[in-house]
Amino acid sequence: MTVRVRQVHLLNVERCQPEPAELWDAVTEQQLTDWENEWVPELLKAIERLEREGIESRHWPQSSHWNWRKKVEALRGMLASPGFSIVCDGLTQGMMIVDTVKKRCRIDNQKGKPLVYVEFVENAPWNRRELCDSPRYRGVGSILMRAAIELSVESEFGGRIGLHSLSQAHDFYAYLWHDGPWRRF
């Protein structure tokens, strides 16, 4: 499998500086290994901490039951469901799987037109503010959304994208295209 790698930048929160990263147009074995060896243990630790602190389970990460290995293996080789990932500092920082055939636009003036539908998108646990006091990198979600848009443009779907949002991510999607200092990354 040939993977196209493009250079991007994430914000290193601690150093408050941009750091070079890579956007891959695939989710490979390397990502799945990172997910198993790095993401899952980190996520479990975070959930244990939330439980100790008495945080209600409805506030726990809603994507914690996602099994990326199963998802990726079920869709391997499918042209309709490409994946994307971001690698920085030698580790996978975010992953996304989209669908290009099963969904159509619902909004009135675009109804029925093709779009890229974001099936699954997840940030590494150490980048999530709800899971750790000082996230490592910012910008993962925005870069993955832009990758979905780019695919939509390449597919001649006009940049149209759609997704169902877990409630914890509503604000991110609602304000995705609004500008502001907090949206720099």
């Binding site: 493009r6 750091e19 070079p20 636009c105 994208i161 949002s165 409630s167 295209w177």
Partner: protein, 54 residues
């Protein structure tokens, strides 16, 4: 993105769509910011621009 509300066919999750005019704006902003970050990072050699800008 445009919030089209809760989707009863999808466990009540809210459904969002982004239209061509919104996506164009977002991609342009992304290109601009990537240029800024690249400049700040000082890493300008051998860089393949992520979103196809010259």
């Amino acid at each position: 993105m445009t919030d089209l509300g809760a989707d009863s066919d999808y466990q009540g999750l809210r459904y969002f769509e982004m239209m061509p005019e919104q996506t164009r704006a977002l991609v342009e902003k992304g290109k601009e910011r990537e240029r800024e970050r690249r400049d700040e990072d000082g890493n300008q050699q051998g860089v393949v621009h992520p979103y196809g800008a010259a």
